[in-house]
């Protein structure tokens, strides 16, 4: 594994939601909140795209870097404790992990082929995590996707409109999801999720 050779700026990253999140319980919280919302920040997000279906060399690099393979089935993801790789299109993936290293430079150092494109999107996307027993009901308010637990399984993901915003939705666990959207819409999404969660009662973390 290659790690730690790639340093980050010492200046703290400022999230699009910086100063906008009020922690606490809100809405119809007569009992336990049905929804928990938190921002995932800071993240390293790298888009990897190959011109052809991935070959052995590429797969080996990924395996070496992350200890698991890229998902090949559309709209699925694979994850370790630290890193999640999400299929976002034919021969295209997003690699996401909490930011602890310069992931883009790390991957670039390992993949020398020019037929790959490696694009740093760490700052381009905002991500919020939604958890709680009403999560799937909340998602149904924003997206015309069947989120039934027997249909939208753990590790499934989808790119769709969510509350009228272009979003990538990823299922991490039975009731735990991550939403990725363009950074500029982060506050808009946060507010819409809060409004939709009001009837379930929600807690912001």
């Amino acid at each position: 594994m290659v790690d730690k050779d790639y340093n980050l700026p010492s200046i703290k990253r400022q999230s699009a939601l910086d100063g906008q999140i009020e922690s606490g319980r809100f809405g119809n919280c007569k009992t336990e909140p049905g929804i928990f919302i938190e921002e995932n920040h800071p993240l390293s997000i790298v888009q990897l795209e190959t011109r052809e279906p991935p070959q052995k060399d590429f797969l080996n690099v990924i395996q070496n870097l992350f200890n698991f393979d890229v998902p090949l089935a559309p709209n699925t993801s694979k994850a370790s404790d630290k890193t999640r790789i999400i299929w976002t299109g034919p021969n295209r993936w997003l690699i996401v992990e909490p930011e602890t290293r310069d992931l883009t430079s790390l991957i670039k150092s390992q993949i020398k082929e020019t037929s790959f494109s490696i694009v740093d999107l760490s700052h381009a996307r905002s991500s919020i995590g939604i958890d709680g027993f009403m999560t799937r009901d909340l998602l149904l308010k924003g997206a015309a996707i069947d989120f039934h637990p027997e249909v939208f399984l753990v590790d499934h993901c989808v790119q769709t409109t969510f509350f009228n915003l272009s979003a990538l939705i990823c299922c991490l666990d039975e009731n735990r999801f991550n939403i990725f959207i363009a950074r500029g819409f982060a506050l808009d999404l946060w507010q819409k999720v809060q409004e939709a969660a009001e009837e379930f009662g929600y807690e912001t973390l």
Partner: protein
């Protein structure tokens, strides 16, 4: 708010009904305090209080009473609630009574009893179909008459205050959607649910069971209510079954999408905290069972609209479900067995049923015996031919009906009655089937239209499919549920059909109208009478669709639920054709009236469109920025200082300050909103060569180039700079507004035109926060900010690109200029955007750095004659904009071939010029039309138009504009007129060079 004492409900039966007598409810109708019970509807509570008159008719303002007990109600439309929550045209039959409910009658003045517009009834013969159009259209002053006509003929009106409640939307998915929770729907849900299929069953009521709730049927020798209870218990225990109550399907669309409205809080005075008023469901199902039941039809006879006349099933329902006597002395008039059921029900509740009038000449012994036992007179082969009373029914005239039903005996019998319950048969509710694309077919055995061929995966069952007996409904529902689940791959289960105890049925005999004089209402809501239909026929209307539009038959809030079948049958009789030949109009969504609230959901006001904010937004906000929408982006338009009020004068001061500050010292503008596209791959240069008009293969690494992109038709599409970061890696910028469409265009080209090219593109607009630092001191400020890099002309010349760092933050710096000044565009990862912006502002303090907004930016670009959105308006070619030098003759590119079109080579095409008002001060409005002579006769020859304008140019001290004019630069020095007829503006302008300032571009070097 109301007294709980109940001394008013004089028509409330002493026992029975599904009401909770321990929970009285106070409410008001037309200001009068009344009482009801939990479990009542507004209609049942009004009847219990002996309120007979509830509204005035649409056109003739005739007194009207409660006519039905359901969604089909044409008369009892009220304005519900008060103030901002006022909801007009609400059906009293569907409103669950709640404490403090206030309702008002509509379409009357000054009150329900003294309505002055009832004069229309006396002038009835005038108001035939098409009266208003025939009389007023084409006459001078239609708009004058229209106001009074609309005021006289209408329904309720809405409040103008903002609705204080919120509305929600949700999506739902299932294997099988069952619409309707009556015996058919519940049977289908049980059989499908037992297979494990995902079932969603929706019903408009709080109580599932449909007609079983209020009929006195037995299932398996037990009251039907017990069967419902048992079915619901089983369904509630199934995890794969979802039950949605108070949820009405109102539209069936393509791909088995069904929309429904959930009345979340309509039964409450106000929504509970954190709860919405209504919710729009969009349901996607693999199969849809339509179990929506049937609607009883009225009979068409003279004066069939008086208060006290109601559908027979409604009379039963009020007595059985709500323990209300709909009348004290009842006559039943029917052409089918429903009348007998009603008579027996009412008689057993203690109502004096004077007679059952049946237009048929035969009925089975079961009913005869029942009537004998109850002492109810049976009058066969007869009809009600007229009614009496004004604000309430006082009696009916009965006469024998000829065997062909076209005449009645000259002798008639009067029977005193305050209730006339009528039944003309039942029409299956085929509305959703029609929405799905189905075309109903006429079924003579039940005298009604029934579903025909299937269009999508809709499966009408039970009464909505023409199966009216309880056992048929249960059987069809059960079979349909199991069949569809099996088709979807779920395994069959064993089940048994319960038993019912229904008497045998004597077939209905269609009776579409009863002979006689006087108004015979067919569409009771829209005041469409039999004579209107006859008139339409006489005037040559053949199609039922035209009949509908001409007479308004089947329009209104009830959309012809009770009237269509009778109306179309009468039309068929007039035409002498079979009903199946004449056909029926098709129902369209919505099945019930839908408020705008749930359709809009939460996307209202500021939330109508998403707001996109740059990484530096907070700084702008803190520093007096006034924002302007740029697509979805919020951009600083200008910055106010020290608590300046946002007035026009202060805006001008701010803009002047920003332009002068930038041109004099240094200014900085947030350009994060520009589209940014990452381009990688071995064929990137070739790709750029094909999509841009100019050449790209020789662009050196570390250099940027301005590029022009055309549409395939040769029209300018977008412009921007693209920089080469490495051999196969480019960084493209687009205009803010075209960011998405340029990316789509490029994706399309790569996937469709040139899949052979090795190019990968990605939007990186949001990855980078970008700020343009412009002005003679920009280099000094930037040099002080960055880490150990040299920004001299030698290391970073004009159009150069450099990767640098600022406090360890990686940055891309482009030496490009939109303002015409020495300028740099600094891009840093977005999360560092605000930090870097603050650092530059801090370092620039001694150089008097100033932030500037889109207004100053636009003024400076116009001063420099740079084109932007106003010029790239989807109509201009490169030549129009003086950009021919960017057209390469050595290569192919998108749009090249069509640049040679005759139209594009026309010397009369308007071309880019500068414009200055000759008086040196008049504001020239963007969009103004350029003409030679403002006094020329119309149509005035147009020379061109003003494309962009700066009403103040702090640099030049007078307004400047860009425009496109025939002849272009050849006309420099001429004067023409800029006219804006909409604003009454005419100004003389002088044509000048489009570059107003620093023509040699010397300021680019500081």
């Amino acid at each position: 708010m109301f007294s709980k004492k109940n001394k008013q409900q004089i028509r409330r039966l002493s026992s029975g009904g599904l009401i909770d007598r321990s929970k009285p409810i106070g409410f008001k109708f037309d200001g009068k305090p009344l009482m009801g019970y939990v479990g009542d509807t507004l209609a049942s509570a009004l009847l219990a209080n002996n309120v007979k008159l509830v509204g005035r008719s649409f056109k003739y303002h005739r007194p009207r009473g409660i006519y039905t007990a359901g969604t089909e109600e044409p008369n009892a439309l009220v304005a519900l609630r008060t103030d901002a929550r006022t909801e007009p045209n609400t059906r009293a039959t569907n409103i669950e009574l709640f404490d403090g409910l206030e309702a008002k009658s509509q379409n009357r003045w000054p009150n329900l009893f003294l309505d002055v517009m009832q004069i229309n009834n006396l002038a009835g013969p005038l108001f035939t179909a098409g009266f208003y159009y025939k009389t007023f259209m084409g006459m001078p002053g239609w708009h004058f008459y229209e106001y009074f006509i609309r005021k006289a003929a209408g329904m309720g009106s809405t409040e103008l205050e903002r609705d204080p409640d919120t509305y929600d939307k949700k999506n739902a998915f299932c294997d099988i959607l069952i619409i309707g929770g009556g015996p058919t729907g519940l049977s289908a849900a049980l059989s499908a649910g037992r297979t494990g299929a995902r079932v969603l069953i929706i019903d408009s009521s709080k109580l599932l069971g449909g007609q079983l709730i209020w009929e006195l049927d037995q299932i398996d020798d037990k009251p039907a209510l017990q069967w419902i209870e048992s079915a619901l218990k089983e369904l509630n225990e199934m995890k794969n079954v979802t039950i949605a109550r108070r949820t009405t399907a109102f539209g069936y669309y393509d791909s088995n999408v069904v929309n429904a409205i959930e009345s979340v809080s309509d039964h409450l005075p106000t929504p509970e905290p954190h709860t919405v008023r209504q919710r729009l469901w969009q349901i996607r199902a693999q199969k849809v069972i339509i179990a929506t039941g049937a609607t009883e039809r009225p009979l068409v006879f003279s004066n069939n609209d008086r208060p006290g006349i109601m559908l027979a099933s409604a009379a039963r329902r009020y007595a059985n479900q709500f323990a209300v006597k709909p009348g004290n002395r009842a006559v039943i008039f029917a052409n089918n067995d429903d009348g007998y059921k009603t008579a027996v029900n009412l008689a057993e509740k203690g109502i004096d049923v004077r007679a059952v009038v049946d237009s048929r000449t035969y009925v089975n012994e079961f009913w005869k015996t029942k009537l004998d036992e109850l002492g109810v007179e049976l009058i066969l082969g007869s009809a009600v031919i007229n009614t009496h009373g004004h604000f309430g029914l006082t009696g009916v005239d009965i006469a024998s009906l000829s065997s062909d039903q076209k005449s009645t005996s000259s002798q008639s019998t009067f029977i005193s009655a305050d209730l006339l319950a009528i039944s003309g048969g039942w029409s299956p509710n085929v509305h959703l089937y029609c929405h799905a694309g189905g075309r109903p077919q006429y079924e003579a055995s039940i005298a009604a239209f029934v579903p025909g061929l299937r269009s999508q995966s809709e499966y009408p069952a039970g009464a909505s499919n023409g199966a009216f007996s309880l056992i048929d409904c249960i059987t069809e529902g059960t079979n349909c549920g199991i069949q569809l689940a099996t088709e979807l791959g779920f395994s069959k289960t064993i089940f048994s059909i319960p038993q019912t105890d229904e008497p045998s049925v004597t077939p209905i005999k269609a009776l579409w109208r009863i002979p006689g004089k006087g108004k015979k209402f067919v569409d009771i809501q829209d005041d469409v009478t039999e004579s209107d239909i006859k008139l339409a026929h006489q005037e040559g209307y053949i199609s039922v669709e035209h009949l509908k539009r001409y007479t308004t038959l089947g329009m209104g809030t009830d959309q012809g639920k009770t009237s269509n079948m009778n109306g179309h049958a009468i039309m068929a009789e007039e035409r002498g054709e079979a009903i199946e030949t004449v056909g029926t109009t098709m129902f369209r969504p919505p099945y019930i009236p839908i408020a705008m609230g749930p359709l809009a959901g939460r996307d209202i006001g500021q939330s109508y469109s998403a707001k996109r904010k740059s990484a530096i937004h907070n700084w702008h906000h803190e520093n007096g920025a006034i924002f302007i929408d740029a697509g979805q982006w919020l951009r600083p338009q200008y910055y106010l200082r020290n608590g300046e009020a946002n007035t026009t004068q202060n805006m001008d001061l701010a803009i002047t300050r920003e332009v002068k500050g930038t041109r004099g010292n240094v200014g900085m503008v947030d350009v994060s909103t520009l589209g940014k596209i990452d381009i990688q791959g071995a064929d990137s240069s070739e790709f750029l060569n094909r999509i841009y008009t100019n050449g790209w293969t020789k662009l050196a690494i570390g250099k940027a180039r301005y590029g022009l992109m055309l549409r395939e038709d040769g029209i300018v599409f977008d412009d921007g700079t693209t920089s080469r970061l490495s051999e196969h890696h480019y960084f493209m910028t687009t205009t803010t507004s075209n960011a998405a469409s340029v990316l789509s265009h490029m994706e399309y080209c790569l996937q469709v035109h040139w899949p052979d090219l090795d190019v990968k593109i990605s939007s990186i607009t949001e990855q980078w926060a970008a700020m343009a630092i412009a002005g003679p001191k920009s280099r000094d400020v930037l040099q002080k900010t960055i880490d150990e890099e040299d920004l001299s002309d030698e290391t970073l010349p004009f159009m150069g690109v450099k990767q640098i760092s600022i406090d360890g933050i990686p940055a891309l710096i482009f030496r490009i200029s939109f303002s015409g000044e020495l300028a740099y565009e600094v891009n840093v990862p977005a999360d560092y955007g605000e930090y870097v912006w603050r650092r530059i502002m801090e370092k620039g303090t001694t150089d008097n750095i100033i932030p500037y907004g889109t207004e100053a930016m636009a003024i400076m670009r116009i001063e420099k004659g740079h084109v932007a959105g106003g010029e790239l308006d989807g109509r201009t070619t490169p030549d129009d904009l003086g950009m021919n030098k960017l057209i390469s003759s050595k290569k192919e590119f998108i749009g090249r071939r069509l640049l040679q079109r005759d139209g594009f080579l026309d010397p009369k095409r308007p071309k880019l010029v500068g414009l200055i008002p000759t008086d040196g001060k008049s504001r020239i409005r963007t969009g103004s039309i350029l003409v030679k002579d403002p006094n020329a006769s119309l149509p005035m020859p147009k020379l061109g138009h003003v494309s962009s304008g700066a009403y103040l140019s702090p640099t030049l001290k007078h307004p400047i504009s860009l425009g496109l004019i025939t002849g272009g630069s050849k006309r420099i020095g001429e004067t023409v007129w800029a006219t804006s007829p909409l604003h009454g503006e005419i100004n003389e302008v002088k044509i000048v060079d489009p570059v107003f300032y620093d023509k040699q571009g010397e300021r680019l070097n500081g």
